[in-house]
Amino acid sequence: MKKLLLLMVVAAVGLMSCQNANSTNSKKATEAENTSTVASPNPNPAPSISLSGAGSTFAGPLYKTAFSKYLKETGISVSYGLTGSGAGIRSLKDRVVDFCGSDAFLSNADMAKMPGDVVHIPTCSGAVDIAFNLPGIASLKLTPEVLTKIFMGKINNWNNAELKELNPGVKFPHLAISVVHRSDGSGTTSIFSDYMSKVSKAWKDQVGTGKSLNWPVGMGAKGNPGVAGTISATKGAIGYIGSDYAFAQKISFALLRNKAGNYIAPTIAAVSAAGKGEMPADTRVMETNSSAADAYPISGFTWIIIYKNQDYNGRSFAQAQANLKLIDWLLDPQVQAIAKELKYAPLPEKVVKLAKGILRTVNYNGKPLL
């Protein structure tokens, strides 16, 4: 009996040390958080395929609406976890999702760290609003200089001479500015910081660009919904959120002076104007600080990222094909129309064409999927 016990102990210790070796596995539970599956009676019961993705909260409202429509049309249920782009990429890397949503494209270094080749498929573009909460003030003009000063803590009260000069006629209260930023890894932060680095050398040197930053001032909140909620509950708050969140929660946003010198609101037209620039073949581009006269300066594409070879982790051909069909469907005019309703800018024709071309290079161990 004692020998048997000893054996068990040895076996258990052995198992444990194996676990230590690949301890990264322990984080796979990540994407389970916030995942909401759209469940409804299945009209055509034959395909028992379900797809899962995670990531961008910025594009969350679009995917949520599109995927529930997809379920009604095809009977394939797609769950999408609003984890933030950072955690979405992490889940794709761990190969626990079929696709991830991200508003930040992977750098060459990041792509090299993935276990396989990935492709970026843009699905729409959207503005990052500078949202604020000042009772009685619905509109505000900001220049890149003043915006930088606010987010670096150099302007810390709304009753500031530079703000007053920019906004004649607006009665600013004597109220501390509370900067709100993301506390998790975020593509929205990536777009915002990319813009800030382009317009301010001080920002570039001291803060930089990335999905999560070393913020000079302010408080963090989780996800776009968290930042939007904190802004709308805090007098004197200012922060950056996806357009759809500002719109849905009726939060005021600032008009931002663009490179051409015009004060632009984050409208669909202004985002589309920013998206007309050069598009590289792999669609990995930041469209911030566009020089077009009517472009809103803080906007960016949001991408679906998938593996180029869909044969991994023992996935079936049917699963891989369903995944590709779903993403192809996202580029369909009817989904682009949904995007427009939700205050995203639909993709330009040439980008759709490019994206469809990229999708057709995705394969299942060499076999084409579409």
């Binding site: 322990s26 933030g84 930053l213 070393n214 408080m219």
Partner: protein
């Protein structure tokens, strides 16, 4: 084998599994935190720089250690007067009476409320109050979190000390009364000293609970990765930085978060150890 032996072996296996779980957990934490300690050494504990930006990565846990310790101790300071009064009220003044039973039940009920509910309540009711009182502009921060934590740990601090106070032998108190002591004198010269170790232990347990609390604190502390300049400043705790950033963490950042988890584990372990020592010493 007789049933005696079977039972004994089942118990033995269960205990061994527990030991393996605990050591396995510590081992994974240690092995996970090696990269960050290799890179920054003990600077990781004393540095206040937390910069996850690619290319300038630098991790220091000091802001979170300070945030955790300050919120927890402040919570304990707020909690003790309330918990001490409540335990005297329930365990001594109105011992066995209806009113103390009701209060005791209500205090215990506080322990059963999920932490997210405390967070929500703090976000929508406590935070606007802090703003109205003019403590700070946005209502988040160390102080707000400490108040919520204080409420959360009251039941832990109260129920054990109540128990201990009510267990003080009657003959001790009667002896004091017979010497002409007033009720106040009996309480402060007989009851409290006799129950001292239990009371202190209950506060240490409460502190341990405050150190690890995550959800409610994350919602209220402001999640700013800088060392707080005062109790009304924003901050962050070890538990809430892990909750916020574990999702996307990898490489060095992942190791830094694991190392923070290890430090938190050590700090709570230390606190519990001190608690046990105190009980042993005064009991």
């Amino acid at each position: 084998m007789n049933s005696e032996k079977v039972t004994k072996n089942i118990l033995l296996v269960a205990s061994i599994i527990l030991i393996l779980l605990a050591t396995g957990m510590v081992l994974t934490l240690i092995s996970g935190s090696i990269p960050v300690f290799e890179k920054f050494g003990f600077q990781f504990i004393f540095s206040n720089k937390w910069n996850p930006t690619t290319g300038r990565e630098q991790y220091g846990a000091l802001p979170f250690i300070v945030g955790t310790v300050v919120t927890s101790i402040l919570a304990l300071i707020i909690c003790i007067p309330l918990a001490f009064s409540a335990s005297l009220f329930i365990g001594e003044y109105y011992k066995g009476k209806m009113v103390s039973k009701i209060i005791g039940t209500l205090v215990d009920l506080l322990a059963g409320i999920p932490s997210i509910v405390y967070g929500l309540w703090g976000f929508y009711f406590l935070r606007p109050l802090i703003v109205q009182l003019g403590f700070n502009a946005q209502g988040f921060g160390i102080f707000t979190s400490s108040v919520i934590l204080a409420i959360m740990i009251i039941p832990y601090a109260t129920s054990i000390s109540t128990e201990i106070i009510s267990l003080v032998p009657n003959h001790l108190k009667e002896a004091a009364y017979s010497l002409g002591a007033t009720r106040m004198e009996v309480i402060f010269y007989v009851t409290v000293p006799a129950a001292r170790s239990g009371i202190i232990a209950s506060y240490i347990l409460a502190l341990g609970r405050a150190l690890g609390e995550t959800m409610a604190v994350t919602m209220l502390i402001g999640n700013s990765n800088r060392i707080p300049h005062g109790i009304f400043d924003l901050g962050n705790t070890m538990a809430s930085v892990i909750a916020n950033q574990f999702g996307e963490a990898e490489g060095l950042k992942f190791s830094a978060l694991i190392a923070i988890a290890l430090l938190l584990f050590l700090i709570t372990g230390l606190i519990n150890g001190i608690g046990k020592l105190i009980i042993k010493k005064f009991a």
